[in-house]
Every structure is written in structure tokens, then in C-alpha cells.
Symmetry: D2
């Protein structure tokens, strides 16, 4: 009998083909965060039992763009950067489970298959998209600095339709990088039965978060954010009712698993 | 308590955001198939228990390129074709389970996220790739006809590396479109535990196949096939030891679920 | 002294690197054409001297989607189809020069670099875009037939913004494939001086057209066409004031140079 | 008579559609440079009259990866970064004209259409490619620092084939960023006649270079560089015979036209 190896598919005799390696997974990148309030009913409708709305500020949303390099423990992906670089844009809300507040990603688009696969494991509901965010750079006039007055654009498209665009202007250093994405994540992992009408093959609630985190100074400012409709997307259903703030921060993160909640 | 809907993630109040709709799924497209024999040990090492090698011709492999349009029961994707069109290249072997012969996809690359998501459900171990195959066309000199002497090229790349290329020349009509991909598919669906070292969250063996099938005449010919190494892929481990034949066929297929085997 | 070869850049000792080979260029593909009338002033403003508006129906526009395979005289690109396949969407108007009516492409998007390069030679003002059109197929429910009732979608995006989308329904066979794109093309070829403020390095008016043409039956129907704004595109300035008709036709074309008009 | 505006095609009444705006063009980005010696005959064969090989070190080559943001004088592209960001990989040699030494780009791949268009103006022989280079980042383990021991990967692919890959390890600060790309550029701008066999419509030799330049400290190290064959590319013809050095530098550049040499 053969033994097949690999953290995920395709499993082979060597394990080398696996779309993603085993955690821990390392990330270095820049986060551009836009926080705002939407109608709390629009957040609540995305929280199936046993989750419930967060007790305070239940309509708060963070729409986050991230420009990442990532790698496994060996770091080998960094020397073949098509395997390490990806971008993502994701919407985070907060929820409550057994008296504790969690963050929860309700929409997310990435631009690489290994990022989709990590999302399967972590419970992020990933689709492919085209994501762009302005990069800071210390030289020349074709980039902002991470400093007061720095202006950053960020856009999201999927299936050849633009879904979101933001322009963020930085004003001052900040104690935080926002509060909506600041809790452990509570995510569902779900797969339907292969048999039509059967009970789900997988339906579990999990918790995870960074196992290690380092970061540069956070900067705070304001955002001009626009969301657009699409026949297959519902990001714009989380309409901006009241802006909160925008943030920029460079971070280094490690992710190394989580635990099952329900 | 909210009720969230959708066949797959992201689940929302309306279900409209689901990356894929519920089956049945309809497909219209062209299949270019290259069959050959590799070392049977290379096939056997990809067959975990309770699967075992097929009793006859256990080293047979089919490498198949497909150029698809696909849609749900409503057919709405066909009028926004970025949501309907995709291409794939996949390697199929045969195996045995409880005395019956199955086909099994051991490597597959596609170029859209909805195709990746359908693969999660169907147990195809999908990655993203760049797939091309020559299209037949009835007019002009920039396309072959599906006829004796017709020549078709097909290529596969992933992560900016070419993994396979074939040139197929058609010779004559054929009773079949090959034999390796002619059985019901036996696939694993697998997801690790979110807890490091935990038992898999999902690990099941399923069977599925077309619920409906129509096709034009099959054509048979010969292929010049080359497979290339890559640090993250093992298609070339299924080295060509003996060519069998190549085939071209236009098909219409419906897929509508399967059943659990183990 | 070295002799460098190649129809276009980069020129090398062998000529093998040229982005495009010498004409003749062969094309096999499907044309989806939507004809309508816009404000004639919007057409006239795109016609620099010595061109003038066409004497009859001066506001007629054809927006055309094309799904091509193309190759040089050797046909070698057809066996490496990433080098042969491309899609385009382009807007054509008519104009008059020295008493003769010409067609003129005023906006065009393609999805391959070799297509951009051929446009430089032919005077098509090409940009990159993402272009999709429904493909006909004889089997299954995931494709229309080229027949009465056949419905085809077509979309255009650039820089992550959707610029146009059409749904065409075929009604009946047609004598023609439309009239706007039916004349020889009158195009400018232009390159600024490398010296700021200098006279253009190249500014000429050329004529070209197919040197050979074959086609299947044309089908006629109606279109629902929508054009969208973008900060960097002006296709929507050619607003639909009155629909004319829509067409579908499979064609084979040869292009082999033209002549200078002015 | 209409007046059409725009620095390049498509020209319109407003000029807003032009694929590129007028210079000056601003760039902020990171350069990874690998210098080596090839057979001087391979360089000489790429230098048509009136150019001749550089008098000293005539086989020197720089293969350069660049990760850019770029914008026009208004800077508006920076807030819609899909219009500002691009990557490129290019091969530079040196040549002599009228007793002066010039740099000359002999092969170049970029990943955006606006970069192709700027290349038309500047005489860079651009094709589309897929280009990746490791990014430095100050936090986390998924990025090198620009410092001794920093390791950077860089890859180039076109038409689904990998053409080049390099791994650079930094050793020490450097006075220079290499010498091969340090001169004004001498480039040809060429377009064939629209008439088969006619004299070229454009064939001129131009000079240009940065009108303004700022940069961080240069770092020097060593490279492991591999070049791969392709049916349509000749980069590998500039085979590595002797490594010179590798460099990393962050720069800000302005380009604002040049002058005609011949």
C-alpha cells in the first residue's frame, strides 16, 4: 500500500507537490486598513449561529489591503518570488462567541493559488481578484513616504469589474492599526456532501491568530472609500455609513495553526 | 440568529456571493487526450489505501487538455463569459477499489477560481496554471480542422515554468476517446486539522462521474509529448515510457454529484 | 559592422527574437459585431485632417469583439498556441479621404504583446485589455449554437475596470456582417520626436485591408450594449443613441501590408 | 477639421485616452543588477552601424530586474496603482558611437502596456513578460533586509517559459551600482514601411538618459544566474562566461526626453 504525503493536495510519494507546505507560515508586508461603520444588520446577517454580533459597535467594518511576501519555515519560496508574493483585500467584522469577541473575515480576494489554499485551511472565504495598493518608497517622486501627508491608493477587482477603491491620506502616528481586525479570528470551514442533499462533509468553527507579530509604527489618517456593485459579489452591501479612520503599518507575522471552537 | 446561504464560501444572507452555485454543472468543450505508459510503480505510489493499482495496464496515464465553457442550471454565466470559460490540464491514472476499476486525477491545473472551487467539491487536486491548446476553426489557415492531418499544440505552465507540451496529429476516426479516463472517478477530499498534529478534519474517498454526456466523433492520432521538471511539481515523475495514442473530441457534459465510497 | 535582422524589435543577428514575423499574417476566428449610431460630432472629433466624416450615416459605429488564432506563413505559432491565440475588442467608425470612404479603428484593446506590435505596424491604437466573448459549441448546454436564438455575451475591461458589455441574440441569416467595418482601413502611424517639442518622428496616413478573406454564413440579431466610464478611456464618449444591429460570423483572413496615403 | 490630442495613440479630442502622458516621467523603485562577461562577439552582433563595440571590456553585460512605481508630472497614477506599478527585466550592453561610450538595451520584458508604450518612445525593444524579484522589508522572516547577507531571487518568463533566474547575495556597500548601465542609452527607433519591401518608415538612432537621479546606498554581492533557451528569445545567447558582480540599489529617477544621434 502506498503512503502519500503532503500538507494538502496533490499528495504524492514525496510530498513535494503539495500546494502549500505545513505551517508555520511567515509573512512580511504592508497593511492598509480602512475602518468604517455600516448598518449593523448587514454585519449581523453574516454571522450564523453560534456566533452573534459583537456587543459594542456591531456595525464596524475593516476593509484591509495587504501586499505580502510569505514563506514556509525553510524560506525557500523567497528565492523564487513568484511563489512568495501575493496581494489581498479583505473585509473583517467582529462577532461574539461564548462571551468573547472575535474578528471574522467575511469577504476576501487574493491573487495566487497558494493563498487560496492557505485560506481553505484557515477558513478565509477566498476568491481570486486583482488587488493593487500604492507602495511607499524612500526615493523619487513616484511613491509616498510613510509619513504625514503620505497618500496611498488601493483598488480591488474581480471578474473584470472594479469592486472597491480607496485613497488614504496619513496624518499622524497612531497607537493602534485599528480595532476591528484586532481579535482572534473565528472562521467556519465548510464543504458540502458529495451526495446531493446530504449533510455537510465538513462544517466546523475554528479560532486562529498570529503566533508571533512584530511591526513598525502605525500611522493614522482618513480614507475616501468607494464600493461598487457586481452580480456575483456583495462587498457593497457593507455600505459605508460613517467613516472611522484609516491606517498604514508594516508588519511581520507568523501563523501556526489554531483550535476548533465548535 | 442569522441564516447564511450559498453552496460554498463566502456564505451570505442571499447566497449570491458563493464562489460556485449548486450542481448540476454544465460543460461544453474540447478534449485533447494523450495516453501513454509510465513505470507502474510511479502510478502505484500515488494510490493510498484502500486503493490499489488497476489489474490490467497499471502504468497507463492520460494527460488531458480541456478548453471549457461551463455554467450552472440557469446558464447565466454564459452571458458574462469571464465567469464561464476556463482551461485545464490534468493527469489521470486508473486504480482499483473493492474489485472495481476507477479513474483518478492525480495532478491538475486550471486557470479560474471557480474551477478550483469545483475541484474542492469533486476531489480534483487543483492548482492554478497557464494552459493553452490549439483551437479548431473552419475558416482560414490559422487553425486546424478536426480531420485527418489536423495538428494541435497544447502546453501547460505553472509558476512561470513550462511543465508540459504536446503536439498531436490526427489520423483517423476512433471508436473511443481513450480508456484511462473512461471510468467513474475515485478521489479523496482532505483537509488537515486546524490543530497542529490533530487528526484530519476531512478525509474521505468519493466517487463521481458525468450524469449526462454527449459528444461528436472521436479522432485518433499520435502525440509528441514532453514533460519538464519543476521544484514544486511532479508531473514529470510520470515519465513517458511508451506512447499509446492521442485523441481529440468535442463533448457536452453534466456533473451532478457523486457518492461517498469510504 | 554587424547586420541585425527581424521585422520588428528586438533586432538580432538571427532575426529570431523579433516580436512579430514579416507579413503575411493569417487569422482564423469569430467576430461579434454590434453596430449603432452615436452623435456624429463624437465621430467627427476623432478624424484629424486630411480625413473628414463619411458622407452618409456619419454617426455609425461598430464595436467588434474578435476571438482569434493567428500565425505567420510558417504556421509554427499554431503548435505553441500561447503564441497564436488572442482576443480583441475595437471600435470602428467611417471617414472620407479624397472622395473615398474608409473604415477607421479609433479604440482597440488586445490581450497579447504580439497583437500590440502588429497594431503598431497597421496603425491600430492598441492598449492591453481583458476581453471575453461567448464561444459557440456544438455539444452540451454550456454554449450557444450559431443559429436563431443563439445568445452571446461579450465584455471588455482595462486597468481593472469594465468598459463595455454586450449580450447579442441571433435572429436570422444575413447578407452582410455589418457595414461600418467594411471598407479599407485608414489609420495614422505616429511617434513623437525624442526631443521635447520637436516635430513628430513619424506621422503618416496609411491604408490597408485583408489581402484574402473567407467566411461562414453571417447571422444578424440584436444587442443590448452598455458602455462604462473610466478615467483613462473614452469609449463611452461614443454613446449609443440608436441601435442598428448585431452580427456573428466566423472568418479566415490574410493581411499582407498596405500603402501610404499621406 | 478636428484636432486630436494626446502624446501617443489613441488620439482624441481631449487627449485623455493616450496610452501614456507627456514626459517628464517619474520612477521610484528597486534595481537588482547582475553583471557578467559573455563572448564579445555576441555583443558585437547586436550593434548595427554606426555603432561599434565599446573599446574596453566589450563582452560586459548587465541583466537588470526593476520593480517600479512610475507616474506623470501630475502623479495621479499613484492613487490608482494598477496604472503606476510595473516590473521589468532587461539586458544592457555597451557600445561606441563617434568616440563616446553608450549603454544599450538589447532585450527587455515588462508587464504593463504603458511600459511598452514608453519603450516605443525611448527605443527600448520591449515585450511582455512575467517578472518577479524578492522585495526587502524591515519586519518578519519573509523578506531580506538590504544588508550584508541579504538574499534576493529574481525570475523572468515569457510565453509560459522561464528565461532567466538569479539568486543574489549581498556582501558589502559599494561605490557603484555597476558600470554597464552607467552611460547614456543609445537606442534605435524603427518601424517598417507599410508597403512590403519599402524603405523603413522610421529608422533613427537616439540618445537619452535620466534628467534627474537620486538613490540610496548601493550594495554589492554575488549572483547565481541561469539563462534558458526559448524558440522565440535569444537572451541565452548572451551566455555567462565570467561573473563580474551583483548589485542592489533603491533609486528615484526622472526621464524627460533625449536627442537624435543619427
Amino acid at each position: 500500500m502506498a503512503t502519500v504525503r503532503g500538507f494538502l493536495h496533490p499528495k504524492t510519494a514525496t510530498g513535494r507537490s503539495s500546494l502549500i507546505p505545513s505551517p508555520p507560515w511567515h509573512y512580511s508586508g504592508d497593511l492598509l486598513t480602512v475602518e468604517y461603520r455600516t448598518d449593523p444588520a448587514r454585519v449581523a446577517e453574516l454571522l450564523p449561529a453560534p456566533l452573534s454580533p459583537a456587543p459594542d459597535d456591531p456595525g464596524a467594518v475593516a476593509l484591509i489591503w495587504a501586499d505580502w511576501q510569505s514563506c514556509s519555515e525553510s524560506g525557500e519560496e523567497l528565492l523564487d518570488p513568484v511563489r512568495a508574493q501575493y496581494k489581498e483585500c479583505f473585509a473583517v467584522v467582529r462577532c461574539s462567541f461564548e462571551g468573547r469577541t472575535y474578528s471574522r473575515c467575511v469577504h476576501i480576494w487574493v491573487d495566487k493559488d497558494f493563498a487560496i489554499a492557505r485560506g481553505l485551511h484557515q477558513g478565509y472565504p477566498k476568491k481570486l481578484g486583482s488587488i493593487h495598493q500604492t507602495r511607499p518608497h524612500p526615493y523619487g517622486r513616484a511613491a509616498p513616504r510613510i509619513a504625514a501627508g503620505g497618500r496611498f491608493g488601493a483598488t480591488l477587482a474581480a471578474a473584470d469589474r472594479r469592486l472597491a477603491e480607496a485613497v488614504v491620506t496619513l496624518h499622524e502616528p497612531s497607537e493602534t492599526n485599528g480595532f476591528v481586525n484586532g481579535h482572534p479570528m473565528a472562521h467556519h470551514r465548510f464543504l458540502p456532501s458529495i451526495e446531493p442533499g446530504g449533510a455537510p462533509a465538513l462544517d466546523e468553527l475554528i479560532e486562529s491568530g498570529a503566533s508571533s507579530f512584530e511591526a513598525g509604527p502605525a500611522w493614522k489618517g482618513e480614507a475616501d472609500l468607494r464600493l461598487f456593485d457586481s452580480p456575483t459579489e456583495e462587498l457593497s452591501r457593507l455600505a459605508v455609513e460613517e467613516p472611522i479612520a484609516a491606517y498604514y503599518r508594516q508588519v511581520g507575522v507568523v501563523w501556526n495553526g489554531g483550535r476548533r471552537l465548535a
